[in-house]
Symmetry: C2
Subunit: 356 residues, 2 copies
Amino acid sequence: MASRASVTIEHVAKAAGVSRQTVSRVINKGPNVKPDVRERVEAAIAALGYVPNLSARRMGGGKSFLILAVNDRQRTIENWRAGRGNDWVDQMLHGGITECEKHGYHLIFELIDTDPAAASRQLSNAIAALRPDGVILTPPHSDNEELPALLADRGIPCARIGRRPGTQFIDVFMDEEEAAAEITTRLIALGHMRLAFIAGSPEYGNSTKRLAGFSRALAASGLGEAAGSVAKGNFRFDDAAREIERLLTSADPPTALIAENDEMAFAAMHVADRLGLAVPQQLSIASFEDTPGVRFSVPPLTAIRQPTAEMIAAACSQLIAASAGGPAHGSIKLPYRLVERATTAPAPAPANRKTG
Amino acid sequence: MASRASVTIEHVAKAAGVSRQTVSRVINKGPNVKPDVRERVEAAIAALGYVPNLSARRMGGGKSFLILAVNDRQRTIENWRAGRGNDWVDQMLHGGITECEKHGYHLIFELIDTDPAAASRQLSNAIAALRPDGVILTPPHSDNEELPALLADRGIPCARIGRRPGTQFIDVFMDEEEAAAEITTRLIALGHMRLAFIAGSPEYGNSTKRLAGFSRALAASGLGEAAGSVAKGNFRFDDAAREIERLLTSADPPTALIAENDEMAFAAMHVADRLGLAVPQQLSIASFEDTPGVRFSVPPLTAIRQPTAEMIAAACSQLIAASAGGPAHGSIKLPYRLVERATTAPAPAPANRKTG
DNA sequence: GAGAACCGTGTGAACGTTCACATACATCTT
DNA sequence: AAGATGTATGTGAACGTTCACACGGTTCTC
């Protein structure tokens, strides 16, 4: 085994007839290398199949070429355990790996606890061991104020995903309020005059923003806020189902439902089916999450597609730039997309409903 | 920024009043450290919040505490792009991250091309840069013979997933043939006398094994191989749908279908629906893949649950042991599970069918 | 045309560990 | 009781890079 010892920068230097440092300059695209020397070195690199050792680079120059992306442990493991798959993780890796590869970086994905004290400790350990050039914080850690402070203290750039932007760090987000307003406006345009918003929970920062968008759109349409009701579904199937049933069996039930996640949207489908309401003929349903379950359900749901992969890719790109001397702060707003599928349609004729 | 400089082994050594090397021995659980000294060092480590720098450890001792898991780029990206989610990746991370964390290791997930030349080059580059202590090869790379050879040449232990075991490397797998036989036997026990196997493609090693299991079970049951038909679905919805329709509209159609992946199982559901065959009353359908789509479809499918997370965890554990001096070869067979859900039922009464 | 500024290249030190070896002392062996 | 063995600890070197700086040559500046 191990017959071929690894080729180092010295081997390349000798082969190209230059010094260590010149090879280093070529690798790092440094200035002050004559074109012919550069070519000679590049030829030697290719001939020997030389690839710089990341650990040594980190030791020498302080750059690790690693981006650390952290996710919430409980939520992630719970999804995996339940065999539910994890679209967020998939999209995150998609955007992260693709972008990192472009710059010769590597993405490391790790889990940290929700509990703030544990989160700080775990993140601290991870960065001490790995010394990443940048860290990506995803919800709910995006809202933890200690984590970015801890990273700033160690001089590591930090990007937060899906959070109202501040000024000190890199914040990558989509306009949650706007998205909620757009889907609401769209449903109103389809003739719906009674709408309901199935909310997650107010602890989750984005819930508040989305609700604001819903209200704003109602007001702007002239329908007025009274046309909209809000049910609290806690992001859970059961809680949502109960509230939705209450709404749909009330005196003047909504004809369109906007759920904050797919689990609650499915609850809506379920209740509609049980009450004998045809979707979308008698009831329109839209979700705020566009996971595979939503896309491939029967019928497929109308939903807001969050640009998860794009947000992570943008975060990686910014962090890599920051570690190369670029700014370690700034905010990036990425566009969401309203994907209309088969669960939204024009409102049923008022007559049917009044007599029904 | 960067107010706190990082704490190194020297700081710990000074704090505990010992030398570098003694601290190193404590960290690495080496022998020949007096209990009271060990305690003193551990106290200093805790007090200073010292965490060893991975890059430095790799430089000094050759161990990187990294496990590299490689997946097929085309297949993975295609799944991500299509928004289909990627259960394999999810389960892989689940098993890999959990197991690596236990041993103080980190998992790095990367993609390499299917094309053998490109795969060799990319893997070669990745290990030169990262110097992982072990590499996990997943299908279809598990069947590539050059990759393990390349790794052996560099002295890096290698684990292959889902492959008939050899003797030189670590092979982690489940009994595909047995699983196919079991599901077939179960359907026969439910009274089915005409069965069909919707095969993927013979290039995929496991297809052959599963087909063998199907045949073996038919023979063992006394029904004889004539009771089973085989359709080639190429793992694709459209190809499978066409073949399944042909089967179901033939003179003596099967009452039970076993599909090699969920896409083809869905094709079966689709065709059954179109032909007006009730599932499972008139037609039983089973899948060989147990992804979220299968689990949460309506009705949920009976399927073989492959122990993906467990296989990756076992691979990590073996690789970590190997890098600590343990054996770098051996095979581990992990149990699959037949999960009976709502798409399999007793065969319809023969009278109904003959007259139908 | 002499000093300053820049360009291209090389050298020694440093990064934070572990390895190989050295040392000091304690315990066993005969 | 002297040598052999074992235990506990420390020291210098090495790993493969980049950084800081040095140096010689060219081109600008006045």
